[in-house]
Amino acid sequence: MDWINSIVQGVLLGGLYAMIAAGLSLIFGVMRLVNIAHGDLIILAAYLGLTVATALGLYPLVALLIIVPVMAAIGYVLQRVVLNNTLSDDILPPLLVTFGLSVIIQNALLEIYSADPQKMDAGALGTASANIGGISVGLLPLLMFATAVVVIAGLQFVFYRTALGRAFRAVSDNQDVAQLMGLNKRHVYGLAMALSLAVVAIAGIFLGMRTSFDPSIGGGRLIFGFEAVIIGGLGNLWGTLIGGVILGVAQNIGAQINPGWQVLAGHVVFLVILAFRPRGLFPRMTG
């Protein structure tokens, strides 16, 4: 039973990883940018959520109403002011600039909030659980997983059914011709980063409600998201969900064997998949 339980918990944890991965996948798909600061932005969102929830006395999930637009705005400005200037055929500038951002965000959080771990008060939802077939499933992880499914379905809809998604795909296909269609690519890239950070905001709030966090853990979240992207297959949004679930299950099974192996087990599964299926399980796009 312990095993089934840890698998179920792993699946639900996979929802969080999928949200992290979806944000990464989105911007890579649109502008071939890998944002090294992605994980630190998640932690930033968690701290902003904590601050807003505490200051205004809001329930963390209600604070999303503020944090999502704020993070989206940060994303748009960041893209227009900084990241657009790094995009060219050379992969070095975006990599090094987002790496620099990562260090800046991490240390700014350290300066403001100290290294003490924090956690958002999830209230009754944090401890509530439902008994499904003899397995106790926490409502918060369940809600987190459901949210991940909705987020990915939403991104899928935006990408394939809306004018914004058409613009994303057009700019991704051919920047010059998209520009001829009247699309300002700098603006489109800004919108893509805004959307990515809106998803980051949701992931950050759930992360902060589920576990404690401190400024140093951003890099680890980036890695989990990245592993979910590669496992699922580049360019496949639903693939990120599968990738996240596989990673979450691997980690929980690892932890079941030996608590010290939790994160290691996830990395090992990732490396094994990289060795045998280097393009991921469900690739859609060439890197």
């Binding site: 090294i36 890099g219 280097p278 890197g287």
Partner: protein
Amino acid sequence: MKSSQTHTVLRSSQASRRAALVGIVILIVLAAAPLWAGRADMRLMSEIFLYLALASLWNLLAGYAGLVSVGQQAFVGFGGYLLFALTIFGGLHPLLAIGVASLFGAAMSVPVAALIFRLRGAYFAIGTWVVAEVFRLTFAQISALGGGSGSSLPVKIVKSVASSRTMREWTSYWLALGLVVLVLVVVYLFLRSRKGLALTAIRDNELAAGSLGIDIWRTQFLVYVVTAGLTTMTGGLIFLQKLRISPDAAFSVNDWTAFVIFIVVIGGIGTIEGPIIGTLVYFALREFLADLGTIYLIVLGIVAILIMLKAPKGLWGLIRERWGLELFPLSHRVETNTPRKDQNG
């Protein structure tokens, strides 16, 4: 009149020949540091040498071979841990252990490269980070080496380097100096070799990359393995000085990668001189701003971003543009030799 001009392709310039001479003098002065420097100065200089070694190696990897790694801490930590393991359990002399460790590091990098070379560009970067995390988490599981909390190098082993403390400190200073000279020479000779020139050509001209294909893959592979071996060696020396190791310190992304990247970016990526300038600037800034703690890192990050955006060739790039200097002659200059009048019939 028929044109009988000849062209001479030169690598060295007067500035670079003079630089070589000055370099030798500096080397002699540095080697004689025990005669003129205090204990604290020598310790600081050792640290500068070790960082310069890391920066030069990362620059070779990212700036020339296009392999942007954010996971070189894997090899730094590996070197540190191997030093401990080989001396404590293998009974090796520490210096021999560091030599052996670097071979292990190079050997270890072969399967690692086989795996992460499947990832391109930025994904390659994060892949290297995953590998470093695997190293960290694995060493944290080895209880004989202290597990998550780490361990110290036993006194007996420390003493085997040299019996007196002064002599030990001199030895580790000379080792650091020797290492940085070795690294700079390896990097310089590699870049002057045919393979190195091909890398430079590719970096400067993307079109060429496709046509050279498999050869480039082999060269990148070679660079990765050599860099891994030398980075492992540097790691061994770093922890021979620290005498204490823990997974978090050994595989720290901030200490062994973030600072190194900032050094190279600020100094000028893709030049041999860049890391040297960058290291000096980094340590100068640190002396002034170290008290600020995290603010120092934020400032460093902002400076690096601004340089990447506004002067992507770094401080050395600015200097070179201004004065056309080149201390390590890599690029070829063509001089037109106008023939003497009397030869024109």
